[in-house]
């Protein structure tokens, strides 16, 4: 952010108000988030003109909303014949006072939480390709600029801008309603929202590309979105499960990198550096999810696994038996080769490396894992523990070739060297990143 402190303050206020403003306007615009964003942008331009002179108003959100609505009415009057959607906004407004009265503002404030929830649901609509859902959610709900999103994902800004434009067109063309889905539609729609948030989180937690092993800013954005969602839908156990999972994983962020930015694996981390506040918040969210009867949901199960690690003050205290059982249940609820791989790691910790390796070898033929760097990484680790250093070295080299992340590549190369240096049969001192 550049400019004088005043400009910074103004930009910050606008960023904090952005999602609520767009959400409120989207309802008036019959769910057309493209129009909502245009109206919001007009209001922002007005604010950037007036606020430096006149100061930030006492209720900046209401100010922006009022300006945007007046603009909508102007557009409606001019385009009465042409624009059905502006007409809808106009009709909605003409039945209300158009003088920015407190009554209008209060009515808007009462509904704004619902509107925000609708905005989240529409941004994550399954009609959109997944990368578009991610970009739209960060833009509209997170209030990030396209430049910020592009930087976070290490892609050119026009790519993100185009993704967002197309997403808005797709939603308009498909006449997607601006609503909180209920009934039979709800679980699938909610699953998409949770998937989008967790994808953002994971991109931050294990960056798939670029030079950094983590991008904590993306983790923070996702955690913030999750907390926001939990505030809007507090009775959904899976929302709480996802929040619990992200809080607990975030508790390890400081401990996950060494002094020069290199990855530090879970069992090697200095647990004194784990953030107890985030762990406690995560455990509390998990407990609420379980109280709500959500113990068997996929995010609650993953949070429960993360909690097993969080509760262990020392790695030796980890309840690997429980983690194995939770992974077994997770594999039933949300079957995936990656879950199976994680289960194999848990089994190796509970029952020994040979038992784990048998499971990993069953997964070797899995097409989905063919280019997944953690498969050879885990296999290498288990081989090393079994004293098969030569084979382990080859696996770590393969893991290094498969990852796109520079830090992970270095880690794999270093583990390969270390395995290569060990005489066959020498005891192992390294371990795979256990799941969770």
């Amino acid at each position: 952010m550049t400019g004088s402190p005043t400009n910074t303050a103004i930009e910050t206020v606008i960023r904090l108000e952005s999602s609520r403003l767009i959400a409120g306007l989207a309802r008036y615009a019959g769910g057309d988030i493209g129009i909502a964003e245009e109206l919001a942008q007009d209001a922002v331009v007005a604010a950037l003109e007036q606020w430096p002179r006149e100061g930030v108003p006492a209720n900046p959100g209401a100010w922006l909303m009022t300006v945007a609505k007046r603009r909508a009415v102007d557009l409606f009057r001019r385009n009465r014949e042409l624009e059905r959607k502006y007409a809808q906004i106009g009709r909605a407004l003409e039945t209300e006072a158009d003088d920015g009265t407190a009554a209008l503002d209060r009515a808007v404030a009462d509904d704004i939480d619902d509107d925000l929830l609708r905005l989240i649901f529409i941004s994550c609509h399954p009609v959109l390709p997944v990368p578009a859902r991610v970009a739209l959610t960060l833009r509209l709900v997170g209030g990030l600029t396209t430049a910020e999103i592009a930087r976070a994902y290490v892609v050119p800004e026009p790519t993100i801008a185009q993704r967002i434009v197309r997403a808005k067109r797709t939603l308009a063309a498909a006449h997607i309603r601006f609503e909180t889905p209920g009934g039979r539609e709800r679980p699938a729609r909610l699953a998409s929202v949770l998937e989008v948030i967790y994808l953002i989180y994971n991109e931050g937690y294990s960056a798939t590309a670029g030079d950094d092993w983590m991008r904590p800013d993306l983790c923070h954005e996702a955690l913030r979105l999750g907390r926001l969602l939990a505030g809007l839908a507090p009775a959904e156990p899976e929302v709480l499960g996802l929040v619990a999972l992200m809080e607990i994983q975030s508790s390890r962020i400081a401990a996950r990198t060494g002094p020069s930015g290199e990855p530090v694996l879970l069992l090697d981390q200095d647990r004194a550096r784990w953030d107890r506040l985030l762990i406690n918040r995560g455990l509390a969210a998990l407990a609420r999810a379980e109280e709500l009867g959500g113990s068997h949901g996929q995010y609650v199960l993953q949070a429960a696994i993360a909690a097993c690690h969080a509760r262990a003050f020392r790695p030796e205290e980890t309840d690997w038996g429980l983690i194995t059982r939770l992974y077994t249940e997770l594999a039933e609820v949300a079957p995936s080769p990656i879950v199976e791989l994680n289960r194999a790691v848990a089994v190796s910790m509970a029952d020994g490396p040979a038992a784990g390796l048998a499971l990993v070898d069953q997964l070797a033929a899995e097409p989905a894992l063919r280019s997944y760097h953690l498969l050879p990484s885990v296999r290498g680790d288990l081989l090393l523990k079994l004293g098969r250093a030569d084979e382990a070295e080859a696996e770590f080299r393969r893991a290094g070739e498969l990852t796109q992340n520079a830090r992970e590549r270095e880690l794999s190369a270093q583990r390969a060297r270390s395995a290569g240096a060990q005489a066959p049969g020498a005891p192992a001192d390294s371990q795979a990143e256990p799941p969770g």
Binding site: T8, E11, T12, D113, L223, L225, G231, A254, D275, L277
Partner: protein, 113 residues
Amino acid sequence: MRFLGYTLADPATPMPEPTPELYAKMDELVTEAIKAGVIVATGGLAPVEEATKVRYAGGEFTVIDGPYTEAKELIGGWALIEVRDKAEAIEWTKRFLATAGEGESTLRQVFGP
């Protein structure tokens, strides 16, 4: 980024007892900030005249209990917030003060464990 924001009343301006309306408005703001994922922990502070100071100097510990001559009913509060940058922390603090009334809050960045 994590910040600790705390507020103590100004000894020069005796604070009136907070009204139920102020409590309600403050509750609304705090709820909003918690729902926005900004406040991660918060609490009130007992009057400063009940505070205890523990000092260590010249190999000796000294425990000093209030009341202190300069202090009168200086209650306060604190919030640990998670924000994108310092500008957001400042904006939330302004919102807090706009609700709480005239006074001064201190923001300190908190580093991880």
